[in-house]
């Protein structure tokens, strides 16, 4: 089976020929249904990796192949969620979640005629993330954690094959974060969606991912890939077990070395 995402020897430089080299010689393969976490020192080009995969940036050299096609423009099979939920304040939460459907080609022409069907789908998603009945509220009436849940719904509503999460839980408190880890874990298990999670939190990466990818300091490239051996479904108790902590520590020292090397 060919991987869903294949990044081959990619260089990406910002700001013209003399600009900063964000990633260099980047190689990464992501299989269908896989949950990949990307970690690394800050400024290692994790966000660049996201933008390359979604086609927001086109690399100067090398190739990004998503779903068997070379990326030359934004690929519409992805859903994205950032640390900042970026809900539109003039729309209710439900309308915010329906927004991607007004954009994506294969849905936008069906939306008006099949509104009820899509609303039902959005409400089901809201229920999955524990926001049942909050669709009519405006996003600014929700707490940070609830907004981030809604943000996940928005990223998933058009049934993307690939979900890209850029530090989605960075701004949340520890308890909310753990709750949302479980939400993501269950979504991944239930929907079989491929997920790429960019994060600074090593415990988060080990808890959630099938494979943790460590990137070097700028210019970023992949320095190692660690398959996560823990069986699914994983419970939060795992966070306090020795093998889990050993793996987190190993990753930690690896990144510390990568920072020094920079």
């Amino acid at each position: 089976m060919t991987p869903l995402v294949s990044i081959e020897n990619v260089d990406m430089r910002y700001g013209g020929p003399t600009g900063t080299l964000a990633v260099s010689g980047l190689n990464l393969k992501i299989n269908r249904g896989e949950f990949v976490a990307v970690v690394g020192p800050s400024g290692c080009g994790k966000s660049t990796l996201m933008k390359l995969t979604t086609g927001l940036h086109i690399p100067q050299s090398g190739a990004v192949i998503v779903a068997d096609a070379k990326v030359t423009k934004p690929v519409s099979i992805v859903g994205m969620a950032f640390q900042n939920p970026t809900m539109l304040p003039w729309r209710t939460t439900l309308e915010n979640i329906l927004l991607p459907l007004e954009i994506v080609e294969r849905h936008r022409h069906r939306l008006r005629a099949n509104k009820a069907e899509y609303v039902a789908k959005a409400e089901k998603l809201l229920e999955t993330v524990g926001l049942k009945g909050f669709g009519e509220k405006f996003p600014w009436q929700l707490s940070g954690g609830m907004q981030q849940r809604a943000n996940l719904c928005r990223a998933l509503i058009h049934e993307p094959e690939l979900l890209m999460l850029d530090e989605p839980f960075g701004a949340l408190d520890a308890f909310t974060r753990e709750e949302l880890w479980c939400v993501i874990r269950d979504l991944h298990a239930a929907q079989g969606v491929t997920i790429v999670l960019v994060t600074h939190d090593l415990r988060e990466s080990v808890f959630l991912a099938d494979k943790v990818v460590v990137m070097s300091a700028r210019p970023g490239r992949v320095i190692s890939e660690h398959p996560v051996p823990f069986a699914r479904p994983r419970q939060l108790d795992l966070l306090y077990e020795q093998p889990f902590n050993d793996m987190v520590q190993k990753l930690h020292s690896e990144i510390a070395t990568a920072r020094v090397a920079a």
């Binding site: 690929v75 950032f82 900042n84 003039w90």
Partner: protein, 271 residues
């Protein structure tokens, strides 16, 4: 340690007492206070009516000359609102056009600033040459002076879309037009409605300046001729009418703003 007896009656609900809402009354009280101070000041200093009339004398003039004052007030309101409405349509259009792309923004912005720096009173003679004296130059001056803040605000709203929002939508295959319609335009609406309050006040400045210089009607013209007859109370009566019209239109715009973009005033609504 003492335990609270649950049967103890809690203090009876306070008896409703009449308590004036000072915040609501404040605008009226302060306005009346200003007139009272003015009245006392003029009476003590003994200034003649031809220099500074007392408010009572000004109100007398309003009653005495009510028919021309009313006619000219309506004329000024008409030219102002017409010019303002043209400014809203043109300002919205040009603002959206300028905010559309960085290149258009960069190219047109200096021209706009330069144009705005020209004193509009200097344009009135040109407008008179083109359109003759009367209503048309007043409407156009009101329009020219009030459309700039609308343009700037709409363009600002469009130019400050969060990059993350744009990324989320672009990754879904959104075109520039999609992003503008779904995010840019609604986002710029609080800026737009906020600018209307500034614009309507400026529109009065424009129409009155033009009426003063080149018209046979309107409050500007009325005050100019009253002044040449040393009828200073009538001049002040005209000023007072302008102030009343200005406050009324400002309040209307503030109300429209609140109605249309309640989500942007969420700090007061969230609780």
């Amino acid at each position: 340690m003492t335990t609270l007896d649950p049967a103890t009656p809690i203090a009876a609900a306070p008896r409703p007492v009449f308590k004036p809402n000072w915040v609501r009354l404040a605008p009226w009280l302060y306005t009346i206070g200003l007139f009272v101070l003015w009245e006392i000041g003029v009476r003590i200093s003994g200034l003649p009516h031809t220099i500074l009339p007392t408010p009572t004398r000004v109100f007398e003039a309003i009653i005495q000359y009510w028919s021309p004052i009313w006619k000219n007030s309506v004329q000024t309101l008409y030219t102002t609102v017409l010019g303002f409405m043209i400014a809203v349509v043109a300002g919205l259009g040009i603002g959206l056009f300028i905010g559309w792309s960085k290149a258009i923004y960069a190219g047109l912005y200096p021209i706009m600033v330069g144009f705005n720096a020209i004193p509009k009173v200097a344009l009135v003679p040109i407008l008179v040459i083109w359109f003759g004296i009367g209503t048309v130059p007043a409407v156009l001056t009101a329009f020219l002076i009030s459309f700039f803040p609308i343009v700037v605000n709409v363009a600002t709203g469009l130019a400050t879309i969060e990059p993350e929002t744009e990324d989320v939508l672009r990754a879904l295959g959104a075109k520039k037009l999609d992003i503008m319609l779904k995010v840019g335009v609604p986002r710029s609406m609080p800026y737009f409605f906020g600018s209307l309050k500034v614009a309507i006040t400026l529109a009065f400045v424009g129409s009155v300046v033009s009426e003063t210089v080149a018209s046979n009607s309107g409050l500007g013209n009325m005050m100019a001729s009253a002044q040449s007859n040393f009828n200073v109370p009538l001049v002040f009566a005209g000023l007072l009418m302008l102030a009343v019209e200005g406050i009324a239109m400002y309040a209307l715009m503030a109300w429209v703003e609140k109605r249309m973009t309640g989500w942007a005033h969420r700090s007061t609504m969230a609780n």
